[in-house]
Symmetry: C2
Subunit: 422 residues, 2 copies
């Protein structure tokens, strides 16, 4: 008997018909002798509907008191889901009980709309499991030290599921979603993309942070921290698929570096076209430049991703970084009016039509020449590289947006990702 | 400075536009120097939508575990309302904070879907009021001793508001609804019906229990028990109506028997066409008959209203009672198959096309002949009385449904209810 946590996304919970399928799938696992905890998202569209009502009443940027109320409102989507799923499980003849985050309780800090989980009390859930009940817990939310409802931000239900699995020391956490696993790259761009049977935690972390939207990045961090075996699989297979087969489907995120993974130098290609690049040109090269430029940007609540500062010539350097495309105009304006005069720079340039393409692979650690093979491949396709950043297990380049598909396909081929792993 | 509780029904909260009007009205009271607590219902239609989803998943009669989940689901309607109203109040420039029942906490027993309030902790709310905040509290719900969410049943938000007002020893509880007060009878039946400026608590209790749907009966009981000054008024007046005028509008439910009330013998005419009558005929007249007949009815969860047993002739009697019209067929079936054979009765008869008409007035206590004037009035209209019950301040008759309007109009005239109170 294992303790299994299932997480179902909003699409899987999108109608009473689909909720019934989820219940049948959970019942199958229960009848196979497992203890089951289920973390469902809100029904698809519900969170947007609720926040839309709130926005009609408060068109301005919300202050702290309003953020608290947004969490009060948005958290109800998942509360409805857990109640409905518990009823569907009862209709399948199982004992089931639902809990909102505050009932478990799942304790978080007080950062409304983007809270972080601090601790989970497993007493109540364990008692229910011991009594043979399926326990259904709201994703996306918790309660702070003063008894206020908090939410974890978009995609937070993945994090909830992994955190619950960690607290319960679950044998596995299965994330049911609308894709059947993690792919070498997006199959809509590269039809030859293959599903990975396993991916290392660190690779998954890079894939998630680089824009592969299968799992929320914080859930991967959590899984890594607490070593929760995590599997991404499809909720759109028949609920009555053979359970052994289902338990081995999808992509397993592992913490052991086994031989097979050592052989694959690059596991996947991630890409992201939500970014824009800006450069502050002719900046006097002296200590404190980076913070004089990025300080005002951070103060304006603009997130920065890639940051590049190259060696100076003639006492001047160019300082470049990328921001979300939605923040592009605001960033350029801020740099021109505040930063350029303050630091004595020459000008600001920028481009919103860029994309970031990354190769990710734990094997890069021990293989030299991986980055240069990437650069050569792009060069052979005539693609100019505008920016480069690297980490231990990934190399990212910023290129013109129009070359994105070409670059991803060429890299996928160059690293043999269309071939079954050796 | 007074402490005022406002309660708004689902229609008043039916859209963001209406929620904005509620916020403006509350802000007006706040700016007039009062401390404000607001208890809103769910947006109209929301509770039905949520319970409809649950019903799709559990078509059978729900067991206890499912009732718990129904409360989990249904309680979210009010939680959304309090969050939205708090945001609307903030948009009006006020400080506002919302609480779900469990956050106050409002403690109830564990009777899911029909819980009763046991206690309310006012510490948190008082601290917010002292800090100058409007406090918005969910109606309809609370939390039991084990931390399960409970709901109070339909119309429970009235009860929540009165209970909160009692706990806070509020100066007045204003129930904003879609009518502008309590009338001598339903103006759709009798156009001459007058709005009562005041009504005694006991009369209001009878009017509520007899089918006058202005206030939920448990809220009136609560107001009586804790002597909460209660006012029913309209939320469809302009929000910026003069506050002194608004504070005196609607109908005040009072606990003092003042002179004016002594003069009005009958305050109102209530009626109810949701009932059906059944009779068990030729019942052997011996001790225990009532319980042998009504025991199985109660066991089948059928609520009984009027009960009549007249003196016996030749050792046999007829035993009659009324049930909700929806339970009529089930009751007749139950009586025929189980009760008649068990008690040795002759037969069962019944009629679903009846109505109950009642005159209510605290003055009936000290005035003789009120009931006989009622019977004479009906007789003069040629209306046959099928059943009669009386209490200290009301007399009810069951008549053929088709005479309902005629009876209500005749009684309204006979007791001078169309004349302004002397």
């Amino acid at each position: 008997m294992a303790l299994i946590v299932h997480k179902y996304g909003g699409t899987s919970m999108g109608s009473t018909e689909r909720i019934r399928s989820v219940a049948k799938r959970v019942a199958k696992w229960m009848r196979a002798g497992h203890q089951m905890v289920v973390v469902p998202s809100a029904m698809s569209g519900e969170t947007n509907r609720l926040l839309g009502l709130a926005r009609e009443l408060s068109p301005e940027l919300p202050g702290a008191a309003t953020l608290r109320e947004l969490d009060m409102i948005a958290s109800t989507g998942e509360q409805v889901s857990v109640g409905l799923l518990a009823i569907a499980l009862q209709a399948e003849g199982l004992e089931a009980v639902s809990y909102a985050g505050w009932q478990v309780p799942i304790r978080t800090d007080s950062s409304f709309t983007k809270a972080r989980i601090q601790s989970i009390d497993d007493t109540r859930v364990r008692a229910d499991l011991a009594a043979g009940r399926v326990v259904v817990i709201t994703g996306f939310q918790g309660v702070d030290g003063d008894g206020h409802i908090t939410t974890l931000g978009r995609g937070g239900s993945d994090t909830s599921a992994v955190a619950v699995a960690a607290a319960l020391k679950a044998d596995e956490c299965l994330i049911y979603t609308d894709v059947d696993g993690v792919y070498t790259t997006d199959p809509r761009i590269v039809p030859e993309a293959r599903r990975l049977a396993t991916i290392s935690f660190e690779e998954m972390l890079e894939m998630a942070s680089l824009g592969s939207k299968v799992l929320q990045i914080r859930s991967v961090e959590f899984a890594g921290k607490y070593r929760v075996p995590l599997r991404v699989l499809s909720s759109f297979t028949d609920w009555n698929i053979d359970i052994t087969e289902e338990a081995r489907s999808g992509t397993l995120i592992t913490f052991e570096e086994d031989e097979k993974m050592e052989q694959a130098v690059v596991s996947g290609i991630a890409f992201n076209r939500d970014e824009a690049k800006v450069s502050v040109l002719g900046v006097p090269d002296k200590p404190g430049i980076a913070s004089s430029i990025l300080g005002p940007v951070a103060d304006a609540n603009i997130d920065v991703d890639v940051i590049i500062q190259n060696v100076a010539h003639d006492g001047k350097t160019d300082f470049s970084f990328t921001v979300h495309r939605n923040d592009y105009a605001r960033t350029v304006e801020l740099l021109k009016t505040q930063v350029v005069p303050a630091v004595g720079a020459r000008d600001v340039s920028g481009d919103a039509r860029i994309c970031k393409v990354s190769i990710v692979g734990i094997g890069m650690r021990s293989h030299v020449g991986v980055a240069s093979r990437m650069f050569r491949t792009l060069s052979e396709e005539g693609i100019n590289i505008q920016m480069i950043t690297t980490s231990e297990i990934k190399t990212s380049v910023v290129i013109d947006e129009k070359y994105m598909e070409l670059a991803v396909r060429a890299l996928h081929r160059a690293f043999d990702l269309d071939q079954p792993a050796g």
